[in-house]
Amino acid sequence: MSMYQDDTAYSAETDALPLTDRIQYDADFENLSRWIDGRLAGDGVLEWHVVLADDDAANRMVLGSLLEKSGLKVTWAADGREAVNAVEEHPVDMVLLDINMPVMDGLEAARTIRALDIPKADIPLVAITSDVSPMRLAEMREAGFDVCMEKPVRRDALFRIILGTLSRRVAA
């Protein structure tokens, strides 16, 4: 069976467009929130490391701020090359990639990460873009993205994806 879904099913609850069946967007968010609050009540960090790549400084600041505010460790990247470098050099739990970026775009960055050795090749990849045309979604699927989120992204929607996926990976 293909790892990819045949059709892109829009999830209204998360504003997410799943591209594979690896991303969890149906997590029990109330229980998850309690679990997260418990973790944050300790030392205020979740011990998860997310790489965020967007060439637009304003978008990068908005997303990075809301991720850090929520206790995640964030490595900021201005293009796909910097994101790939961060993945190669550090343990990373998830990568959020804009698609249209200079130097190396998000599609090429996703392909490069998927070509790395396991376990880095297996990192969940989230595309964050304003172009969700069918052609672009097909390109994202081919490049190895797990899910696409349309800009502007709200915190709750993004966290449903991040927490649902990473908490299950920890539990696995």
């Binding site: 060439d55 637009d56 400084a57 304003a58 978008n59 600041m61 908005v62 701020s65 809301l66 505010k69 249209n100 873009t129 304003s130 172009d131 800009k151 502007p152 709200r154 915190r155």
Partner: protein, 121 residues
């Protein structure tokens, strides 16, 4: 949808942004948005003069995205049209939209300044 119909900025989007990040951070975020938006608008004008419509489309795409994040409705609408004009190699249409973008950015700048000045201490 805006709380203030006719406003160049969607107040609900800004309120959501404030809730997702922090009230203290909003002036800095808006400042970064306006700076990068000015740079992209300038790049659009110069790319248009150079006849590089592919670059016009790329810059307009980026501006469409960031203006949506900050609720700058009219800037977003013009950027989206500009991206299409660039992709279609429609130089005349892109030139008209590029001029309109300058005015829309100024209106957004004023509305965003008003928003910042109304943030309670």
């Amino acid at each position: 949808m805006t709380d203030n119909p006719g406003s160049p900025v969607d107040q609900q989007v800004l309120a959501g942004l404030e809730a997702d990040t922090s009230r203290d951070l909003i002036p800095e975020l808006i400042g970064i948005f306006l700076k990068t938006a000015d740079e992209r608008a300038s790049q659009i004008h110069s790319s248009l003069k150079a006849g590089n419509l592919e670059q016009v489309a790329a810059e307009a795409h980026a501006l469409k995205s960031s203006s949506a994040t900050f609720g700058a409705i009219e800037v977003r609408r013009i950027s989206a049209d500009l991206e299409i004009a660039g992709k279609n190699s429609d130089h005349a249409g892109a030139a008209q939209l590029s001029d309109a973008l300058t005015g829309a950015l100024e209106e957004a700048r004023q509305a965003l300044a008003d928003y910042i000045s109304n943030i309670p201490d």
